[in-house]
């Protein structure tokens, strides 16, 4: 049985940044990339099932350019034997729905039995991709999972869905299913140095949308929205307290005292 774990390299903007000339995105010179925090948890959830049972394969995948392979190596350093990366240059800037189409195509090609996605990604926080994958596959799905009991091959899984204000829903979901995994479901492991070294040798299947039978037209028409522009919002700004730590603390103490008197 196979668990597919789609992961994403998320964009992090520098403190000072500029927009691209076309106004459609930040200037790439000011963007760094890192692994999405949620994906550490979804990958850990899959690895724990793999380790607790025989015959489970965990396959990390991403839709991203060559640099995004770093996220896959990061996964493979913790476990798993191979990964899948999907890309061609027409995918630059693709939103959640086209990306989900490709993830679903990989799930079919791999014969995946479960898909564990992150609940959302730290950069744009659409919180859509996993649920779009489920819709593409026609699979049951649960978003914001904070506990998971699943025996490989079982017809259903028992999960906790994290609702607002600390409330939890206990529920079962028929499998195969797509689960979007929330922070805190487990304690993600760190990769060992040996794992990092071994991960460099593990194979990554590099596929294009065409390899998956997904046409450019399909991808273009599946986009949920069209970006018109990005812009720097007018932001409120705190009154900054300057000085040495001692001076700052003294000023803070006075402010707190005054606010308390007035409150």
């Amino acid at each position: 049985m196979k668990i597919l774990v789609p992961v994403k390299q998320v964009a992090v903007l520098d403190e000072d940044f500029e927009l691209r000339d076309d106004g459609l995105d930040a200037d790439p010179d000011f963007i760094d990339y890192e692994s999405n925090e949620w994906d550490d948890y979804s990958y850990e959830a899959a690895l724990q099932i793999m380790e607790a049972h025989g015959g489970v394969e965990v396959v990390p995948m991403t839709v991203g350019p060559e640099e995004a392979e770093e996220s896959l190596r990061r996964c493979l350093a913790k476990g798993g034997e191979r990964a899948v990366r999907v890309w061609d240059d027409t995918l630059a800037g693709a939103g959640p729905a086209p990306v989900a189409k490709l993830i679903a195509a990989v799930a079919r090609r791999e014969g995946a039995d479960m898909v564990f996605a992150g609940t959302l990604s730290a950069d744009h926080s659409y919180a859509m991709t996993g649920i779009c994958v489920a819709a593409e596959l026609g699979w049951p799905h649960v978003a914001v999972v904070t506990r998971l009991e699943y025996e490989p091959g079982a017809g259903s899984a028992t999960v906790h869905r994290e609702l607002e204000a600390g409330l939890i829903e206990r529920m079962t979901v028929e499998c195969p299913a797509v689960l979007t995994i929330q922070l805190g479901i487990n304690q993600p492991r760190y990769a060992s140095l040996r794992g990092v070294k071994q991960a460099k040798e593990k194979p990554v299947d590099r596929l294009t949308p065409a390899d998956l039978g997904v046409g450019g037209e399909d991808l273009a028409t599946s986009a949920s929205f069209r970006l018109r522009r990005m812009f720097k919002p007018a932001r409120g700004q705190a009154e900054l307290i300057e000085g040495t730590a001692a001076e700052q603390a003294a000023r803070l103490a006075t402010i707190i005292k005054e606010l308390r008197g007035a409150a």
Binding site: V12, E15, S125, A134, R161, R170, S222, L227, I255
Partner: protein, 319 residues
């Protein structure tokens, strides 16, 4: 009807007030461009909620009776699809909540609808519907539109649109939803962990610590500082997830909203949307963070760009 369809949200017999925020967004669009606004109530007993959503600006309330008490993704997807097919709305509005995270995008994919989530502004530019949402952890905003889509589905960020409470006089109708197999089953709710010692929703003065605290061994000094100040200690998600403080101390969307707080000192908290949902209303927010660009500074009244440990240490000399 075309027009705008708002999907009401409820749980355990209570309407989510965010439903009335979505009505407010719909009413504003209706002002800009006259069109009917309907609210759909999908529930085992929709009548329970009809009076509550009968507010100014709503032309029609559509009851959709379903066999489940609470949210179930297959049932709700089918119900919204049926509503969309029957009424052909140009716009469907949802609150951006855990329930809609669990099905709105699926409705959009299956129906071939345009979709954007966590939207906090929406307007017409000519005939074009334009929605605004955040990008890059709120450092940028983006305007999006939906060329070629007959129907667009938006989930709206909470506490942005002022909920409509004035009573209305909407017509009430009913629509049959197709029977579908529910592929998830509700087993029960687990109530939020009760605070052993303190209820942070009652606290007037709070000191909250976040990821910046770094390690469990560092918690104690902030406990002591909070005690010295006479403040209640709270935290953001990573601290609770690590088990360094109980979940009952967590402020934010999945934790508590500090409704009574007057002064909120945030140390080492960058200010995710989810955290800010629980505290951005506090009139006096003081933020201490190493990262000058942290979102928390955009809602704080006072800020210190610096090391939370140094500031805490110095602050203890003034208590």
């Amino acid at each position: 009807m075309n027009g705008i369809l708002v999907i009401a949200e409820h749980r355990r017999g209570a309407l989510n007030p965010a439903t009335l925020e979505a009505v407010a967004a719909a009413a504003a669009l209706k002002q800009a461009r006259p069109q009917p606004v309907a609210v759909a109530v999908i529930a085992r007993n929709p009548d329970e909620f009809v009076a509550r959503v009968n507010v100014a600006g709503v032309d029609e309330i559509v009851k959709v009776e379903v066999p489940t008490d609470g949210f179930q993704s297959d049932v709700y997807e089918a119900a919204v699809a049926a509503l969309a097919a029957a009424r052909r709305p140009e716009l469907i509005l949802f609150a951006h909540t855990v329930d809609t995270w669990g099905y709105a995008a699926a409705v959009a994919v299956s129906g071939g609808f345009g979709c954007a989530t966590d939207v906090f502004a929406v307007r017409y530019e000519g005939d074009t519907l334009v929605a605004t949402r955040a990008a890059y952890k709120e450092k940028l905003h983006m305007d999006v539109d939906f060329p070629g889509r007959q129907t667009v589905l938006l989930t709206l960020r909470g506490n942005v649109f002022k909920p409509v409470e004035e009573p209305g006089n909407a017509a009430v109708s009913a629509l049959d939803a197709p029977a579908v197999a529910a592929r998830t089953a509700h087993l029960g709710y687990v109530e939020p962990e009760q605070a052993g010692d303190v209820d942070i929703t009652q606290a007037e003065y709070m000191l909250s610590i976040g990821r910046g605290v770094g390690d469990e061994d560092n918690i104690e000094q902030f406990k002591e500082l909070a005690d010295q100040l006479g403040f209640t200690l709270g935290c953001s998600r990573p601290v609770a997830d690590n088990g360094w403080l109980p979940k009952s101390r967590q402020v934010g969307q999945s934790g508590k909203t500090v409704v009574n707080c007057k002064i909120y000192v945030a140390m080492g908290i960058s200010g995710s949307v989810q955290h800010m949902a629980g505290m951005k209303h506090v009139p006096n927010i003081i933020a201490i963070n190493k990262d000058a660009e942290a979102s928390i500074f955009s809602i704080a009244r006072y800020g210190v760009v610096g090391d939370m440990f140094e500031i805490a240490k110095e602050l203890r000399n003034h208590c």
